[in-house]
Symmetry: C2
Subunit: 343 residues, 2 copies
């Protein structure tokens, strides 16, 4: 299929008997141009249905006005909120975004970076895949001075700006809340241990326990790869443990929901027998029964802040000095944990 012909400045110039640069100036609304000439050109452009060729401009000014975005998966509500924030912000500031998903694969992530760099994006916004344990590809970006920042799934190994939430504090609030409800044997269901958020949220979990005089040796950590399959089997295993927990803090909502399903199937009362709390505040969490106590994470705002900061760096509005943005989370107590009913 051949695309229809696109009108160029050259054609407008020829039709009007002026030079291409004059056309370029007119279309850029340059002040150093006779109003009449400008008007004639603008009108002609309109009547010929002229469309700017951003590609040519990008090549010429070596700026594409495109931001590359890499997320582990597009269908997660949290990441799509991020992207939504990024897209709206970029759009407002005259940028387009090019999106890739790593599908949680390290190789894909590397490949994504490569194509986005080839496409001459002006900067990158990256959220790491679960598999990413080696950061050479990021280091290379850094060494090659390609502007990029990380959000949510970040690593401290690379000195670039990062946008995260106060993971540890959020987890702390959730676990503290469970403790307040009278639970004392609280389990932490974690994703892969080397994930930044797994670690951070564990810190908060342990800190809350400590405040209630529970030592790390008394803590119970269950690891899953976050697939529904493993989430379920780990939950089953937990139920058979001799000293069964009376509460669970799950690293992310989808995991909490998988756990909840198993508990319900087994006829275990939530929160009476086992109280439950998650992290993220997915839409499902509010409407599920019992509604899921969770920590809300402002996905859209994270996207906005990340995009704005990167663009500020690109436009030299702020320095290139790496900054860390840590957004606040808020505890949303719901029925999955409320043992003490407020009247």
């Amino acid at each position: 299929m051949k695309k229809g012909h696109q009108v160029t400045m050259k054609e407008i110039a020829k039709k009007l008997g002026v030079s291409v640069s004059t056309v370029s100036r007119a279309l850029k609304d340059s002040p150093e141009l006779h109003p009449d000439t400008k008007k004639r050109i603008v009108e002609m452009a309109k009547s010929m249905n002229y469309q700017y060729n951003l590609l040519a401009q990008s090549l010429r000014i070596s700026k594409s006005k495109v931001l590359g975005v890499i997320v582990p998966e597009l269908t997660s509500h949290f990441f799509s909120s991020n992207i939504s924030g990024i897209q709206d912000t970029a759009y407002k500031r005259g940028y387009n975004i090019m999106i890739c998903q790593s599908n949680e694969s390290y190789e894909q992530e590397k490949a994504n970076i490569k194509t986005l760099v080839s496409s001459q994006v002006d900067g990158l916004l990256i959220s790491l895949s679960r598999e990413t344990k080696n950061y050479d590809h990021l280091r290379e970006l850094y060494d090659r001075e390609i502007p990029f920042i990380m959000f949510d799934r970040v690593t401290e190994e690379i000195p670039v700006s990062k946008v995260t939430v106060d993971d540890a504090h959020g987890a702390y609030m959730a676990v503290h809340h469970l403790l307040e409800q009278g639970c004392r044997k609280i389990a932490y269901f974690s994703g892969p241990e080397d994930l930044y958020i797994s670690k951070k949220r564990k810190e908060g979990y342990l800190q809350a326990l400590k405040e209630f005089g529970i030592s790390e040796s008394e803590s119970k950590v269950y690891i899953t790869d976050l697939t529904t399959e493993m989430n379920r089997s780990v939950t089953m295993k937990m139920l058979e443990d001799k000293d069964r927990p009376d509460a669970i803090f799950a690293m992310i909502d989808p995991l909490a929901i998988d756990i909840m399903m198993v508990l319900k199937e087994k006829g275990i009362k939530i929160p009476e027998e086992i109280a439950l709390a998650g992290f993220t505040n997915n839409p499902t969490s509010a409407v599920i029964e019992p509604s899921l106590t969770t920590v809300s994470q402002p996905g859209y705002e994270m996207g906005q802040i990340a995009a704005n900061h990167l663009l500020d760096q690109l436009d030299d509005i702020v320095s290139d000095e790496p900054q860390s943005f840590v957004l606040h989370t808020t505890l949303i107590p719901r029925n999955s944990s409320k043992k003490i009913k407020s009247k």
Copy 2:
């Protein structure tokens, strides 16, 4: 922030004392080149960390290898599934995607098209906003011979390829199922009436009623703009109607869930007093209580098919003749409608 310098073919050429065209040929693995020269160039490119400049190539060959995608919103699970399918497919076939969201606004949609066209995308995949009632912007695309296809939210006014699901049949199955459960006063909760899917799903609704001897005049259609606010108020209004329905078919799951929330708040038993069915099969629908009967719509596959077809057209693998792909939906009966318990 200034980007680091990128190595060009010219620099490789100079370093090796060959011409740029030779470098270009070597990097393209052209056969008409001495193996040794090729090897030397490829190695030098690697050692200099050469990165292809897709922008320059695009300008030269007038093909960007980029597809533009416009969806009403990024955070809806259905659309993000579409995008995921599009992205994976495009990636496999060597294309990148540029994404815009119209935020359900007609003006945004027009603006999105404009920037994507300026960016020289090779083709567009569009799902219309709720507000879009005028199709001049699409007609213009069509007249200018810019390849594009529509998916899910389509219009029949423009003769381009479309990817949809069998909306009418899906709705028919859902309503037929409600009828089978013994319900006879079935309401249809619809989105804006001029929306393609509102109409199609209504057709299926009416057809099922007809089969059970219920005429259109006996049908009950409630219209909402699909905001949670209006969804709730329309539901309340319905509850006060003299001849209250004993079942509801909601045009999309999120609407069904809003309705369910109101019914639960009012203490109305689902499905005993009012049975409920939705359309889409959102992740929430499976885990909500009662689980929501719905019609599943293969979002990821739709994205794959749409992208593959557009690329086939671009690559002249198929003709430009508009085709309509209608994907099958399947009924997923769940507890929100099962009055007749199967043992």
